[in-house]
């Protein structure tokens, strides 16, 4: 890891040089949006596909959602608004949701949006032949039927409160039946959604051009096009921004943030995201089967110091499993830092002379993940917990996590693809949940998860969800370190790019001054 450390130091040094080099005042006057121009966007990873039903990662979703739209979407406050659906009603038995589609919407190929296109989309992801990796997006849905040309009825198998949030997931974006006959890679050659941008050209792994959709139903884009370059090296992207070879870049390394903020013709966008970074404990493995040990770990980790010292203050503090910007999530304070009490708890638990544990940490998966591991190692040493850091490569790490009996203590991130607590709480906190890598088991939580699903009233549902979060907070199965912030850099003349908490980026209203 010497080279890695050397690299970090180099980046610091580098940032200093750049700070000195940037010059030139920037007039910050408000203007009417200007028409035209090409926005050059440099991102770390390329889209894997342009077929919404095959998307399994955020960088791909960001691109796909410039080209496609869903029936409904959550606005900045998390409130569900109509996109391709203009309005909707729920039947008295709460099982059938009827959506009125927006008139005059055309797919990129020219075909009109209608009820049969919506039905086609849902049938496609559910078909065996499609082999979609996200088929379960429609698991709650019994049937989709076209009531008339512009009306769709979606019937759920049982009362399913999170349906609207589920429908806003990128995997359920509506696609043209003509283009949708081709799957995945073949569809990606000529994708046809209803989005404000159309695909211009794509050289996979290298670059992509998106062009204005002149037939867009809503306000048409100010930009003529977006040129997306794949630039995997973080510092190379920063250089592109400073050299004026990119207008916007994704994933700015935290160590460069202060320097970018000091550069006059560059801005940093920082937005709290949906991703929770946490240290999980396996409650069926020694010593974490003892709740006192888990509580001791929670009290011995100084999350404030991690956020300030390791993360350069890039991140949002909090103690609840779900980021408070996710609709329906309740805010919890971080666990207090109390090493004296932690020591006492360890003694009570039968470890007066401390103990030794293996701590598994990914490297390069999350921002500064290994450094976080090292800092936690130092913090826990102060209360007598000797931590051995283990850093297997990601594929191996994931395989060990899935085994659920091999890793006692782990650092992990958890996103929220649907922007609704149902999905992630079900896989993370339910006793049989696939993402419950620490075997957390609380029968009350299992019951509440089922209860919130059938609680359609939002306020009542939020209260049930709060109880789930409260239980997991009181049981100490994990220590939430912070919520990851999304970091973008842009040139000062870029206006109107919106970074959403669900990690999507909206270019539809962007323009260049």
């Amino acid at each position: 890891m010497l080279s890695h450390l050397a690299r970090r130091h180099f980046l610091r040094l580098f940032a200093v040089t750049l700070g000195l080099s940037a010059a030139g005042p920037m007039p910050a006057t408000a203007q009417a949006p200007k028409q035209g121009g090409t926005l050059r966007y440099a991102t770390g990873t390329d889209a894997q596909t342009l077929d919404p039903q095959f998307v399994t990662d955020i960088p791909t979703a960001r691109i796909v959602m410039q080209l496609h739209e869903t029936l409904v979407y959550p606005d900045e406050k998390g409130e569900i608004k109509g996109a391709l659906a203009e309005s909707w009603t729920v039947s008295d038995d709460k099982l059938t949701w009827t959506f009125k589609l927006r008139n005059g919407v055309k797919f990129h190929g020219g075909a009109p949006l209608n009820a049969s296109a919506v039905k086609f989309t849902f049938d496609r992801i559910n078909a065996d032949a499609t082999k979609s990796p996200r088929r379960s997006s429609t698991a709650a849905i019994e049937s989709v039927t076209a009531v008339d040309d512009m009306t769709v009825a979606i019937k759920t198998k049982s009362v399913f409160a999170p349906l609207l949030a589920q429908l806003s997931a990128y995997n359920l974006a509506i696609i043209s039946p003509n283009a949708g006959k081709a799957l995945n890679n073949d569809y990606s050659k000529a994708p046809a959604g209803t989005g404000p941008f159309k695909l211009g050209s794509w050289t996979p792994g290298e670059k992509m051009t998106l062009v204005r959709n002149p037939d867009y139903w809503g306000e048409k884009t100010k930009l003529d096009s977006i040129e997306i370059a794949v630039v995997p090296e973080d510092s190379a992207r920063v250089l592109m921004l400073l050299a004026g070879q990119a207008d916007m870049i994704s994933n700015v390394p935290p160590v460069m943030v202060n320097r970018l903020r000091g550069a006059p013709n560059v801005q940093v966008i920082e937005k709290t995201g949906f991703r929770t970074i946490y240290a999980g404990m396996n409650v069926t493995m020694k010593p974490f089967d003892n709740p006192k040990v888990r509580q001791a770990v929670a009290l011995a980790i100084d999350t404030k110091a991690l956020l300030e010292g390791v993360m350069n203050k890039i991140g949002t503090a909090g103690g609840g499993l779900e980021s408070p910007v996710i609709p329906g999530a309740t805010e919890f304070p971080p666990y207090p830092y109390d090493p004296a009490k932690a020591k006492a708890l360890l003694a009570e638990a039968g470890y007066p002379n401390g103990l030794t544990v293996d701590f598994y940490v990914p490297t390069g998966r999350y921002i500064n993940d290994r450094q976080l591991g090292e800092a936690i190692q130092a913090q826990l040493a102060k209360v007598g917990i000797k931590v051995n850091l283990q850093t297997p490569e990601w594929g191996a790490y994931q395989a060990m996590l899935n085994d659920k009996t091999k890793i006692p203590f782990f650092l992990l991130g958890k996103g929220s693809p649907t922007g609704d607590l149902d999905f992630t709480l079900a896989i993370t906190t339910q006793s049989k949940g696939s993402g419950n890598y620490g075997n957390y088991n609380n029968p009350e939580v299992d019951k509440l998860i089922l209860e919130q699903r059938s609680t359609v009233d939002p306020a009542a549902r939020k209260e049930v969800l709060r109880k789930v979060l409260q239980h997991t907070y009181d049981d100490y199965p994990w220590v939430v370190l912070f919520y990851e912030n999304q970091l973008f850099g842009q040139k000062a003349n870029v206006r109107g790019v919106e970074v959403l908490p669900n990690e999507n980026v909206v270019f539809a209203r962007a323009w260049l001054q």
Binding site: F10, V231, E233, A243, Q245, P392, G395, Q398, A399, K414
Partner: protein, 306 residues
């Protein structure tokens, strides 16, 4: 000559077979579940199972291997797990990029290396020799990402002469090719120098000088050619590595080459892409070695090709 080529090319068959078995076993035996990686962290178990079946990973290992071999013999290397694109398409244009960059780097590195090697051998012990030694030590020791970023900072950010990243025009290739060529040139320079110094002490060089030939003719006509055999060996080896894709340089300069593809594919357990690209690199290595042997023959006609 032709029998030599034919014989050497038949060596490829066991190499390809051995590599295919080794790669297949290695990638299947390391821990990690491609279905899980494709489906993503937030996938349900049902989704993971669906993906496993779609990728054909629910079958036994021998069946998977035999299917791979049978398809590969017909030229079908399958589809990438990650992108669903045909493997040959994924590898094809990236390999072209790697070849272009690797060859440019070899040409620059070899010319620069031999030139400085000759100069330092002729002026050995002088300040020129020492200065070049210092520079080549630096060239060998500087980490590639650091060198790459320094070049970017200088030629793109400050001077604005060249694009920072990407590919497409010759301007895009200059910085990554130079980044790769510099350590390469440093090694070749040192090898050329020591080899030439040895040759310059030979009797026939003394004879040539005694005949009254100018130093220029002595060095260029009589000495250099005989000193180039070890240089050819080193260049051949370097070329083998460069054509295998230079992961760091490709990453820093966002050069879409095969080195980066292989690393990404291993992380994603994208078995079809890893298998096909490692096979391709093995073949490349064998071919480059063959070319090196041919170069020996050109440099020294006394060497027989058996």
């Amino acid at each position: 000559m032709l029998t030599f080529l034919a014989r050497r090319l038949t060596h490829l068959i066991p190499v390809i077979f051995g590599v295919s078995v080794a790669v297949f076993l290695m990638i299947h035996l390391i821990p990690g579940d491609p279905a899980r990686l494709v489906a993503g962290m937030e996938a349900t178990p049902q989704d993971v199972e669906n993906v496993r079946r779609a990728l054909g990973l629910d079958r036994s290992l021998p069946i998977q291997y035999l299917t791979f071999v049978a398809n590969a013999l017909t030229g079908d290397f399958g589809q990438s797990f990650r992108t669903g694109r045909p493997v040959l398409q994924e590898i094809g244009f990236r390999y072209g990029n790697t070849l272009a960059l690797g060859l440019a780097a070899v040409v620059i590195g070899t010319l620069l290396g031999i030139a400085t090697g000759i100069v330092t051998a002729v002026y050995r012990g002088t300040w020129i020799d020492n200065a070049v030694l210092a520079v080549s030590l630096l060239g060998i020791s500087v980490p590639t990402f650091f060198l790459g970023l320094l070049l970017m900072l200088t030629f793109s950010v400050y001077l604005g002469w060249l694009p920072l990243t990407g590919s497409g025009t010759w301007q895009h290739m200059v910085l990554p090719a130079v980044t790769l060529a510099i350590p390469n040139a440093a090694v070749i320079s040192r090898v050329t120098r020591s080899s030439l110094v040895e040759v310059l002490n030979q009797d026939y060089v003394r004879t040539a000088r005694a005949k009254g030939l100018s130093e220029l003719v002595v060095v260029n006509r009589h000495a250099v050619r005989n000193a180039l055999i070890p240089v050819a060996t080193v260049t051949g080896l370097q070329m083998g590595y460069l054509l295998g894709g230079a992961v760091v340089t490709e990453t820093v300069f966002a050069w879409p080459g095969i080195g980066r593809l292989i690393v990404q594919s291993i992380s994603a357990r994208d078995f079809p892409v890893v298998q096909a690209s490692v096979l391709l690199l093995a073949v490349t290595f064998v071919v480059v070695n063959l070319l090196t042997d041919l170069v020996y023959r050109v440099l020294d006609p006394r060497i027989e090709l058996k």
